[in-house]
Amino acid sequence: MKTKKFLIIWVIFTGIFFTSAISVNYFTDPYRLYDTYKATNINAIKPVAGTHSRQSKIYAARKKNPDVLVVGNSRPELGIDPQHEFFQQNNLKTYNMGIPGSSLKMQYGYALDLIRDQNIKTIFIGIDFADYMNHPDRISDPFQWPPKVQEFDNRKKYNWDGSENPAFHSQYLKDLYLPLISLGTLKDSIFTLINQKETAKNLTEHGFNTQNNIAHASKTEGIRILFNQKNKEMTARFNKTEWQTFTTGYQWSGEFETLNFLLKQLRSRNIKTYLFINPYHAHYLKIMEMANLEKPFQDWKRKLVDLTHSPDNNDLIELWDFSILDDFQSERILDQDRKTLKWFWEPAHYRKELGDIMIWNMMGPDEKKNIPSFGKKLTPATVETILQHDRIKLRLYSKNNPEEIKYLKQFTQTSVKNKP
C-alpha cells in the first residue's frame, strides 16, 4: 500500500471512530446531559449520572422549569423524592437539585440562579450542621460580599449581584459538548448500557438518586460494614479540630451570610420556603456529642431560628428540625444482619421512606393516610423546649443502648488521640 492511500484510510477510520463514539455517548447520555430518548433495558437507568450532578443538575433544573425545587447536599438528594405523592396530587413539577459533596456557595448559588428566572413557587432546603462547621484557624471576614468567584460559579447564568455572568455560555458549551468527545464518557456509556438492572443506582430525570446499589451492598456485605465505614469517617472528621459554629471573633460566619442572602432573595420573591435540618441516625448524633459538638449544634439551631424569623418573615419561611432523636433514628445496628435499615442507608443518609414522612409532616399530613408525626417546627417560642427535650432523649438513648455506645466509643478512642 502507498503512503497516500494509507493516510486516506487512516483519516477515514479516524472519522468513523470519532463519529461512532460521539453517537454512543450522545444516545446513551450517561450523565443526563442531553435528555435523549430513554429506552427501557437500554439506557433508561443512569448508574453513573450521580457522579456528574455538579455538571448536569443546574442545567437540567433550568430545562424542567419546576414549581418546587429541592436544594442541599447528598442527604436530600437521596432522601427527598420529587415524585412524592403530595407533589403528584397537587400537580407540582419538582426537581431535586441536591448535589453530593457540594459547598453551601454551590448549593445556594445554584438555587438563587434558578429562582432569578424560573417560576419556582416552593423551595425545600435541606441543611446540615457539618456544612456550617468553622475551623478555629479560619480568619476570613464573614461579611465579605459578594463571595470570591469559584470555578463552579461559571455554571451560573447570573452573578451574586444579579448581573449576567459572561462566563456562563462558554461553560455551558464546555459542560454539554466536551463529554461527547471524552473517553471517560465512553466508558460510562458502556457501563450504563450493561448495567440496566434493578440493583444499579440511578439518577432519575427529576434529580433523585435512588442508591439501589447501597441496598444491594447492605444485603450482600451487611449494614454493619456501611456503618463501620461511615462512623469511622465521621468520628475522624468531627474530632479533627475544635469545630465552631461561627468564624473566630464573630457571632456570624460566611455560611450564615450566604444563607441569609438566599433567604432574603426568597422572601423578596414570595417563594414559600421549607428550611429543614436533615435527620441523622442516632450513631451520627452520638458521635457528634462525643466530639463535644452538642452545644455548637444547638447554638447553630438557635441562629437558624433567628435568621428565619425576622420581622418581615410573614410565615413564608418555615424551619423544621428532623435531627431530633426519635424512634426513626434509633434502629439498632449491632443486631442487624445482611439487610437494609427501614429509614436509613447509613448514619448520615436517610432513605426515601423517611423523606416521604418528612414531606407529609412539613406540608400538613393527609389525615386519611395516618402519617406518623416526625420532626418539629422550630420557632422562637418552641426552640428551647425542643432542644432541652432533645438533650434528654440523647442521654436516654445512651442509657437504653449501652452496647451501641460501647461500639461507637471504639471509633472515638482512636480519633481523639489525633485531636489537637
Binding site: F6, L7, F17, T185
Partner: protein, 531 residues
C-alpha cells in the same frame, strides 16, 4: 494563558498550534529556508511564552549570552587561557541561573534548618524547561571550547535551543544532531511520509500519555496522597501504588518522548531517542542507557568523564558514579527525596559494577548466563527501580517511608471486605495466614491490579514505538537490543511485530488516535515538565 502550559496533550496544541505552525512553516519555506526557520523560532517562543510570557526574556537572554560566548570561545581564535576563562564564565552564568531559580529556596531552607534561623525568602517560580535548556547550552559551550562546533547563525542556534518538540522536557539535544538538520534543504519541503510517520508516532505517544499513563495514575496518586496524611498503608495497597506509579511514569515519559519525535518528524527533523523500553533492562547500568537517554549521556560526557570516569581506579570510579548520580537526582528537583533517589541509583550502579568485577574475578560467567540468573537479574533491577520511584514520587521522606514500610508488610497484609465476601471459605483460610480484611468494596484494589497485570506484558513483551517503526528511521539514532542485558529481546513478537502500510495498521492506529483524543478531556501535565 497565564500559568497554563501548552501541553502536547491539549486541544490547543493538537488542533491549533501544531497545524498552524506546520502550515505557515511550509508556506514560508517557499520564500526561503531562513524565513521558515525564523517562523519556527517565533512559534517555539510563543509555545514557551504561553506558560508565562515574562519568562521569555529569560530564555532569550540565556540564548544570546550563550551564543556570544560560544562564538568568542573558539580556541582557534582565542588564546587557550581566554577561551578557558570564557568557558568558566559561561558555565557559571548557566549554573547561576539554574541555582537561583531552582535551588536557592531549597538551599536557604536547609541553611535555616541547620542554623536554627529563619530567612524570609520567597518561593521563586521555576522557569519552564530551565534544566533542559541550561544543560543543552552548557554542552554547546564545552564543545565550542573543544573546537567541535561550527560557525552557526543566531537564528539556527535559537532554533537548536527552542525547537518546541524538545524544548520543555527534552530530549537534551546536541548541537551536532540538530543544527545540520535545520540546514538541510530537503527538510524544508513537505513530505507525505514525514506527515504519516510523524502523525502515527504522535498518536501512539498521545495514547500512551492520555489513556495509559493518566489511566493508571488514578491508582497511584491516591496511595501517595494518603501516605502524605500519615495514614498507615497496607501491603497490597502500597505495592499497588508503587507499581502503578512505575507504569504511570513509564508511559508518561514514553508517551511524551514519542510525541516529541512525532511532532519533530512532521517538520522533517529527527530528534534523538530518549526512551527505549527501560523496564526490559537486566541491570541498572542498562536501565540508564534506556531511561532519559540524553540526560544519561550528558551526565556521562560532561560530569562523569571530566571527574575521571573509570580511569583512576575503582574507588574513584565508584565515587564518581555516586557524585554523578547525586547530581542527576538533584537535577530532577530541589528536594531531599530526589537526592535520596539519586544516591540510591548511584549505589545501585556501584553494586552493579562491583558485581561484574566479582563475576570476572571468580569466573562466574556461566552462572551469570543461566536462565535463572537472567530472570533474577531482571527482577532485582526492576524492583530496585520501583523502590527508587517511591522516593522520586513521594512529597517528602516521611511519605516515602510510609509507603516502603507498607511494602515490607509493617502495616499488615489485608484485602478489602468486598472481595473477601466473594471468597467464601477461602477467606477463612486467608485469615489463618494472618491476612486481614479492611473496609471497602474492593473495586479500587481490583482495578489497580488489573492495570498492573495489563501493563506488565506491554512494557516487557512488545516492541517499543521506535522498534515498530524502525523501517522508517523515526529518530536520529537507533538502539539495538542485546539479549545479555535486555529481557525478551529475541522473542518472536519483538522481532516480527512491525508497522506496515496495511489496512489493519491504519485501523489500529486510527483507534489509538481516537482514544488518545477522547482521553484529553482530563488533561494532566507530563511528569517531566516539573524538572
Amino acid at each position: 494563558m497565564g500559568a497554563k502550559k501548552m501541553l502536547f496533550n491539549s486541544y490547543e496544541f493538537i488542533f491549533l498550534f501544531l497545524p498552524l505552525t506546520y502550515i505557515i512553516f511550509y508556506f514560508l519555506s517557499r520564500f526561503g529556508p531562513e524565513k521558515a526557520i525564523g517562523w519556527l523560532v517565533v512559534a517555539s517562543l510563543f509555545f514557551y511564552g504561553w506558560w508565562n510570557p515574562a519568562y521569555l526574556i529569560l530564555i532569550i537572554i540565556s540564548m544570546i549570552v550563550n551564543y556570544l560566548i560560544g562564538k568568542l570561545i573558539n580556541p582557534d581564535r582565542q588564546s587557550v587561557f581566554l577561551a578557558k576563562h570564557l568557558l568558566i564564565l559561561g558555565i557559571i552564568f548557566n549554573l547561576g541561573l539554574l541555582a537561583y531559580y531552582k535551588y536557592a529556596h531549597f538551599f536557604m531552607e536547609n541553611i535555616a534548618a541547620l542554623t536554627n534561623n529563619t530567612y524570609d525568602i520567597e518561593q521563586i517560580i521555576l522557569p519552564l524547561a530551565i534544566s533542559f535548556f541550561t544543560f543543552q547550552q552548557i554542552a554547546f559551550l564545552v564543545d565550542a571550547y573543544r573546537g567541535l562546533t561550527k560557525e552557526y547563525q543566531f537564528l539556527h542556534y535559537a532554533l537548536f535551543v527552542t525547537f518546541f518538540p524538545q524544548l520543555i522536557a527534552g530530549p537534551i539535544v546536541h548541537h551536532k544532531e540538530m543544527l545540520p538538520q535545520f540546514l538541510l534543504k530537503k527538510n524544508i519541503k513537505p513530505k507525505l511520509e514525514n506527515i504519516t510517520i510523524g502523525l502515527l508516532i504522535f498518536a501512539m505517544g498521545l495514547f500512551k500519555k492520555t489513556v495509559l499513563a493518566d489511566g493508571v495514575a488514578q491508582y497511584a496518586t491516591p496511595v501517595f496522597e494518603l501516605a502524605q496524611t500519615g495514614a498507615q498503608i497496607g501491603f497490597f495497597e502500597s505495592w499497588g501504588g508503587a507499581l502503578s506509579y512505575s507504569f504511570q511514569l513509564y508511559f508518561d515519559f514514553s508517551g511524551y518522548s514519542d510525541m516529541a519525535i512525532g511532532a519533530a518528524r512532521l517538520f522533517g527533523i529527527k530528534i534523538p531517542l530518549n526512551f527505549h523500553s527501560p523496564y526490559k533492562a537486566k541491570n541498572i547500568s542498562e536501565f540508564w542507557k534506556r531511561w532519559h537517554i540524553t540526560l544519561s549521556r550528558f551526565l556521562r560526557d560532561y560530569v562523569y568523564f571530566p571527574l575521571g570516569g573509570n580511569r583512576k581506579g575503582k574507588a574513584r570510579r565508584y565515587s564518581n558514579l555516586m557524585i554523578t548520580m547525586l547530581l542527576g537526582g538533584l537535577w530532577h528537583g530541589a528536594g531531599w527525596t530526589f537526592i535520596i533517589w539519586g544516591a540510591l541509583h548511584g549505589f545501585y550502579l556501584v553494586v552493579n559494577h562491583f558485581w561484574h568485577f566479582i563475576v570476572r574475578k571468580l569466573s562466574l560467567q556461566a552462572f551469570q548466563n543461566s536462565q535463572l540468573w537472567q530472570g533474577t537479574a531482571w527482577l532485582i533491577t526492576y524492583l530496585s527501580v520501583v523502590l527508587g520511584w517511591v522516593f522520586f514520587r513521594a512529597e517528602d521522606y516521611d511519605t516515602a517511608m510510609i509507603i516502603l514500610q507498607g511494602m515490607m508488610g509493617y502495616n499488615g497484609i489485608s484485602i478489602p471486605n468486598g472481595i473477601a465476601i466473594h471468597l467464601a471459605g477461602f477467606a477463612d483460610i486467608l485469615s489463618t495466614w494472618g491476612i486481614g480484611f479492611t473496609l471497602g468494596g474492593g473495586s479500587q484494589f481490583v482495578w489497580t491490579y488489573l492495570w498492573i497485570i495489563f501493563l506488565t506484558p506491554v512494557v516487557l513483551f512488545f516492541p517499543n514505538t521506535q522498534q515498530f517503526m524502525d523501517k522508517f528511521e523515526p529518530a536520529y539514532n537507533k538502539i539495538s537490543d542485546q539479549k545479555e542485558v535486555s529481557i525478551f529481546s529475541q522473542s518472536i513478537i519483538m522481532k516480527n511485530l512491525r508497522f506496515k502500510y496495511t489496512y489493519s495498521w491504519a485501523i489500529f492506529s486510527a483507534a489509538l488516535f481516537t482514544f488518545g483524543i477522547f482521553a484529553l478531556s482530563h488533561i494532566s501535565e507530563f511528569l517531566y515538565f516539573q524538572f
